[in-house]
Amino acid sequence: MSRGLLRPLAGAGLALLALVYLVLLPVYFSHSPYILRVVSIASVLSVISLGVWLTFAIGRINIGQAAFALIGGYATAILSTRFGLSYWLCLPLSGILAALVGTVLGFGILRLRGVYFAMITLSLTEAVRLAFLNGGEFTGGASGIPIIPLPGELSLFGVVLMPSFQTVNTHLAFYYLAAALLIVTLAVVWRIGTSRLGWIFRSLQQNEDLATSIGIDIARYRVMAYAICCFFGGIGGSYFAVSQQSIYPNVFGVPDSIFFILYCFLGGLAYVAGPVVGTFILFIGFQILHPLQEYQQLIYAVLMIAIMLWLPNGLLSLRWHTRADRAELARLEGREARS
């Protein structure tokens, strides 16, 4: 296959994927709530993982994303049950609130690197969980906040933009909400990656000191990336709160934080689509393993270790080497050997 064929082929593949994801799958399974739920949850988990991917892009290992998903979930819960706000307001507000918390914390903790940053974000996950557990009346303690209302109607100037989720096929509605969130998030992250901001983030990942020396305000951009990451975490958590219609402190915990990183890893950290690929494969795989009960976790662990040992750069880094690629590589190596 020559290079010229590859791009239109990739485009066609993408179009086919979109067709399956947006039309074929939901229509075919519109009355199988389990399958719709699995794909919806995978979509939203991908959104949260894309946030983690962004912190990888500035060279940090963020094991704290579950904390911000929890913050987003509780924000939605409290805003909709105690203040009666429409979900369509709660959703962005939850993201913004999570981003604000991330900004405040980020200024302090982003100066840490490597293992230290990992350890402190891990502690953050537990700390946030404990905070909500001990929030008393406001956060509902161990049982959390139940009976969160379904998203209502969204209308602007009398035009109904979004019907109330109670009046339509609820599972289908949530499916499309999840899909919309994923597509928008992917577009945003991809756009960041190809913009000047992405270029700055990459320079942070490569060498922070060097970046400072050419005039980049690393503190500000680090926090910016982290805040965006937390925003996506918050949005994801908000979705879970409204789709499960409840939230409690154990919804997002340390294992979830670790899973988000794993999803990014499986797909490949160099690619924007990496977290999405990783999430879908692993989450759906986990569901398939469900009948195995107590061995489920064991097999998952073995899988995780196998991935880390043999595929440390992720699935998307596996390339289908065409003959032309191999010849090119050989030529380059020969040239290097001679010089």
């Binding site: 840490l112 490597g114 700390a127 990183i261 107590e294 061995y295 662990a301 995780m304 040992l309």
Partner: protein, 286 residues
């Protein structure tokens, strides 16, 4: 108040065993052993199994715990970490591998020992009263045994040849290799030793508190807190961190209701790390 101090000291001594193991592994291999909490739980379960199910007494229980954990440590190092440390392009890969081993160990414990919570009677019965403070004999025994283990560890590291080798590797791996230290063998030793310490800690504490398969993560987090506080990779830092946590915990549980204690500990930790990221005695960025 005196009771709080005593409780804190006892907890601190036991936590010191855990923190030492974790910090040793980090110092030697640069890997944060996520599975440390699960190793502790395994130590507890083995002790329970040998003492209660097989009825072989405490000494056999300790021996079995140590041996089991040493074997686990050797297997992990040889088959998982040695390969990953050599091949990994990023340090996150080894970290995730460590998280994977934690999950693996937890699943194996679940399959082998079930999900029920297990407990044991204290090793020695009776209560002592010292300076107006109540010290259950079982807790005193735990304190003494932990103290002996910590002292033995420190003596081992300071005065024996393998101990010197381990310290050399922790200081500078490349130069140690140049001096002829067999890095592979001592990495295995270091990991096994760290795992063994976790096992002893678990075996000791199962006689005081119950152990269940889900305890691993919270124990790991406690170990991380201690290491973060004291400074990763430094033995004295680990001990200091352990005692600070022990006392903070004892204080908290005595005067503050519920799980707010740990919330405050976390908040204080985050603030502390913002001001001094390398811990009390740590080297910057390890």
């Amino acid at each position: 108040m005196e009771q709080v101090i005593v409780n804190g000291a006892i907890s601190g001594m036991n936590y010191a065993l855990m923190a030492l193991g974790l910090t040793l592994i980090f110092a030697i291999m640069g890997v944060l052993n996520f599975a440390h909490g699960q190793m502790y739980v395994l130590g507890g379960f083995v002790m329970y199994f040998v003492y209660t199910v097989l009825g072989l007494g405490h000494v056999a229980g300790f021996a079995a715990s140590i041996v089991t954990l040493v074997i686990v440590g050797l297997i992990f190092e040889r088959f998982f970490f040695r390969h990953a440390l050599r091949m990994a392009a990023r340090e996150e890969s080894t970290m995730l591998l460590a998280a994977g081993t934690a999950l693996l160990l937890e699943s194996l414990i679940l399959v082998a020992f079930g999900e029920k919570q297990r407990g044991m009677p204290p090793m020695v019965s009776g209560v002592y009263k010292l300076f107006g403070v109540y010290i259950p004999a079982g807790r005193a025994a735990v304190f003494l045994i932990a103290l002996v283990a910590v002292v033995a560890f420190i003596l081992f590291m300071q005065h024996t040849k393998p101990g010197r080798a381990l310290r050399a590797i922790a200081q500078d791996k490349e130069v140690s290799a140049l001096q002829g230290v067999n890095i592979e063998r001592y990495s295995a030793l270091g990991f096994a030793l760290g795992a063994g310490l976790a096992g002893i800690a678990g075996a000791l504490l199962v006689s005081l508190l119950a152990v269940n398969s889900g305890l691993g993560t919270s124990v790991s987090i406690k170990a991380f807190i201690m290491v973060m506080l004291g400074g990763a990779g430094v033995v004295s830092g680990a001990i200091i961190g352990a005692f600070i946590l022990g006392f903070a915990e004892a204080l908290g549980y005595a005067y503050i209701p519920g799980s707010t204690t740990y919330l405050l500990i976390f908040a204080a930790l985050i603030l502390f790390l913002v001001i001094r990221p390398q811990g009390i005695i740590g080297k910057p960025w390890g």
